[in-house]
């Protein structure tokens, strides 16, 4: 469609140029102004006609959009995660695994470095006396406040419900960071740095990020892609067992507290866990509709105090 518009525009401009050149050859000086005027009028009319074409195309595209929406409602995949706080021991394996998997730079302990750490998966102390730790990745909201505010469209929610970040487009205004009610977005306050021996262990599947951009959890989208391609090669659907421990954090969890999977499939493990009576989502009153669901019996009341 864009090509078509481009071609039309080229043709129109060519026509305009040839018309103008003919006119100037013939034209006498007194009429020059008149012709310039006519040229401008012609340009204007071409703009108007393009606008009309644009609007009519929009109508069509809106229909397409509506179709797509209905498809999305019946979409095949909607990635989600269930974290069972009753199983979680707060060991921190998920945090470390995530850091290694996603090439997250290592922050020092100096006073200056405080508050510059990047943790796509964090453990935050919760409870009355902060007696338990709560793992929290990006919640991949269905109605994310962060994507609404991005000035350049560097963050968006894709068809499968992942809240994605285009690092290369990000200008580092930190509006998304400020907009996230869960503080799940991280800014590269300095140039990412690793000890030299670590450099050989960087994951080739994940790009490193430069200083001055915002980054976040991707639900290990590179692993999802691998699974999808393997299934495609073998000519089958993605199996639930492939997904359950797919992200690095879920894979590393020794108690199996983290479960990943397809929320659009009611038979999947995540969907069944998500319908447990222990299930809840964080700060639900904000209407962000997170796709990370927590399970807890006793710990729920401590968390709800902070929502």
């Amino acid at each position: 469609m864009a090509d078509e518009i481009e071609r039309k525009r080229m043709e129109e401009s060519k026509e305009q140029i040839t018309n103008e050149s003919k006119e100037t050859k013939e034209g006498r000086r007194e009429f020059l102004k008149f012709f310039a005027f006519a040229g401008i009028l012609g340009g204007l009319s071409s703009i108007v006609s393009q606008l009309l074409a644009f609007v009519s195309k929009n109508g069509k595209e809106n229909e397409d959009e509506a179709n797509k929406k209905s498809v999305r409602e019946k979409q095949k995949y909607k990635w989600g995660m269930v974290i069972d706080l009753d199983l979680c021991t707060g060991c921190g394996a998920c945090v470390v695994a995530c850091k290694i998997e996603n090439n997250i730079p290592i922050t020092g302990y100096s006073e200056e470095d405080r508050g510059t750490e990047i943790e796509w998966m964090s453990l935050i102390p919760a409870g009355e006396d902060k007696e338990f730790l709560m793992p929290i990745p990006c919640l991949h909201c269905d109605n994310p406040p962060c994507t609404k505010v991005c000035p350049v469209g560097a963050t968006y929610i894709n068809e499968e419900g992942l809240v994605a970040q285009i690092w290369d487009r990000c200008i580092g205004c930190r509006y998304c960071q400020v907009a996230c009610p869960y503080q799940r977005r991280f800014f590269n306050w300095k140039k990412p740095d690793w000890p030299e021996t670590y450099l050989q262990w960087l994951n080739p599947d994940v790009a490193t990020r430069p200083k001055g951009v915002v980054e976040k959890c991707t639900f290990c989208s590179h692993r999802i892609r691998k699974v999808r391609e393997r299934a495609k090669d073998e000519g089958r659907e993605i199996k639930d067992e492939e997904l359950v421990r797919l992200p690095a954090c879920a894979e590393a969890c020794p108690t199996g507290a983290i479960t990943f999977g397809n929320l659009a499939d009611p038979e999947s493990t995540v969907s069944q866990l998500a319908s447990s009576p222990r299930a809840f989502r964080l700060a639900e009153h904000l209407g962000t509709e997170p796709k990370v669901i927590y399970l807890a019996k006793e710990k729920r009341k401590f968390i709800s105090r902070e929502e």
Binding site: P125, Q183, W189
Partner: protein
């Protein structure tokens, strides 16, 4: 202000040399000292900025919110402050233009320059806040989204507003530029001649300017309300940040913008009056009018503030209350109560001046200073506390310690602003010459000539064409930047749609220039 005083005003400066009156093109020791001071500030700013670009934003006091810091700090405070101050220029011009407030007329030009300079500083502090400045410069023109109040509207609004103010200033200064060509020689003469392009000092020139500036003022006023409102929306639409989500943000920002702008103009007026000994031009009445204006808006803002704090401290949801408590009683109590004292004391002083019937210039000056201090403090109290306190989920509370780099960059920007002002003062009369009495009153002569039909027609055609094309581009650019006809988060359907929008707005405003500057042919009126 009767006709007598105006005659008196005119006679005192009548025939005076504008170069002598305003020291144009003449360097004095005080001015040089000022420039050196500004250059020193700019140097500090550049050094700080290089530090920030080299090491990243770790050199600032900002850190990840929820992890003990704030994502937005001093830069955002000053973005809002600078853009707020810019409110003064066009407001004053529009007031004089639409409501005919004669006593403010001398201050129109200082106010317009204030608008232009502070908008430039606002745009530059936006850039200072970015993690990747070059990417911002390239990606904003390509991908800016209308849906994001931060840039979609915000940068666009800055650029449109800045351009509109420039056009307004340029057109309103042409008469003086024409006057200056007659009094100058050499390079300066050429400079003024270019500036005054086509202006011939005939009554119909004035009349034409009279019409175009009236309409410009009418069109710019809504832009400026939009500019400050979008600043309010940056915070007002954040449901995830307790203390920010409020419909009061936008009107609050507009009112505070008027306060800081008017306050700043009073300070500038005081300096001009003192340095150029213009007691008979910038009269006590000028100060009194500005003071009364300041008083009304200050009490309006105090009302907003009281309502907000009462609601938030008494019956708001828990997290909102936490933020409000932190502001009123907690770690932010000192800046909060300081801002309250500043606002309230300036209101009391101005009210005293208002009821006493006398004019105390020092009261106006002091109030101007105090409200500007409170404007910065209030913006700080809006931006920072909601990021450190009242966080959803059990995150620890944060702190924000401003670093020297941040202060350095802001100081550099302030230095740049003062420097621009100082330079302007040396190349152009800072007050409209007709209000000083050097040039004759505008538009009082009889129209002695008429434009021939052909050029009049062409003038009208070109004017309407620029206006129409401008409007068309503006609408197309806006719709495309709003991602109409594509997915809301991806590229605009037309490449560089934000640029199309900005060009459209610029062209619409250029139409006023076309209307005034288009060269015409004339014949003398028959008597």
């Amino acid at each position: 202000m009767g006709a007598d005083t105006r005659v008196g005003r005119n006679s005192s400066n009548a025939g005076a040399d504008p170069f002598e009156l305003f020291n144009i093109g003449r360097l004095k020791l005080g001015w040089i000292a000022g420039v050196v001071f500004c250059l020193a500030l700019i140097f500090v700013g550049i050094v700080s900025f290089i530090q920030q670009e080299k090491y990243g934003d770790i050199v600032t006091g900002m850190r990840t919110p929820g992890y003990g810091g704030v994502g937005w700090g001093l830069y955002v405070v000053f973005i809002i402050y600078f853009i707020g101050v810019s409110f003064a220029g066009i407001t004053i011009s529009a007031l004089t233009r639409i409501f005919g407030m004669e006593e403010l007329k001398p201050l129109t030009r200082p106010a317009e320059i204030l608008t232009i300079v502070s908008l430039l500083l606002g745009a530059m502090s936006v850039l200072a806040d970015q993690g990747r400045v070059l990417y911002a410069l390239f990606n904003l023109p390509r991908y800016a989204r209308v849906m994001s109040p931060m840039f979609g509207t915000f940068t666009m609004v800055i650029s449109c507003y800045l351009f509109a103010s420039l056009v307004y200033f340029y057109l309103s200064s042409r008469a003086d530029a024409w006057f200056m060509t007659q009094r100058s020689r050499g390079v300066l003469k050429i400079f003024y001649k270019i500036w005054a392009f086509g202006f011939s000092g005939k009554p119909d020139d004035y009349l034409r300017h009279h019409i175009s500036s009236f309409w410009l003022a009418i069109f710019i006023l809504p832009i400026l309300v939009t500019a400050s409102s979008t600043l309010g929306f940056i915070f007002g639409i954040q449901a995830g940040r307790p203390g920010w989500f409020s419909a009061l943000q936008a009107p609050g920002f507009v009112v505070m913008a008027v306060i800081s702008g008017t306050g700043f103009l009073i300070i500038i007026a005081w300096f001009l009056r003192k340095f150029y000994k213009l007691e008979n031009v910038i009269t006590e009445k000028s100060f009194r009018t500005l003071g009364t204006m300041l008083m009304i808006f200050t009490i309006t803002y105090i009302y907003f503030m009281v309502v907000e704090e009462l609601t938030a401290n008494y019956a708001a949801p828990r997290k909102d209350r936490e933020v409000a408590h932190a502001i009123v009683f907690g770690p932010y109590a000192i800046p909060f109560w300081l801002s309250v004292v500043c606002l309230f004391s300036s209101f009391v002083m101005l009210f005293y001046q208002f009821v006493s019937g006398k004019t105390f210039i020092w009261i106006n000056l002091l109030s101007g200073l105090l409200v500007n201090v409170s404007a910065i403090l209030r913006r700080f109290l809006i931006v920072v506390p909601s990021q450190t306190h009242g966080l959803y989920l059990p995150y620890p509370t944060g702190e924000y310690h401003i670093t020297l780099v941040e202060i350095g960059i802001i100081a550099g920007l302030c230095g740049l602003g003062i420097l621009l002002y100082l330079f302007f003062v040396k190349i152009f009369p800072i007050l409209p010459l007709d209000t000083v009495g050097v040039r004759e009153k505008v538009g009082e002569g009889k129209i002695t000539r008429t434009e021939v039909r052909s050029t009049l027609l062409l003038r009208r055609i070109f004017f309407s064409l620029t206006l129409l094309v401008g409007f068309a581009l503006m609408i197309i650019g806006f719709l495309a930047s709003a991602r109409v006809g594509t997915k809301p988060y991806l590229d605009p359907p037309i490449p560089f749609a934000p640029v199309v929008f900005i060009l459209g707005v610029m062209l619409s405003f250029v139409s006023a220039v076309v209307y005034e500057v288009f060269p015409g042919k004339y014949r003398a009126n028959e008597r």
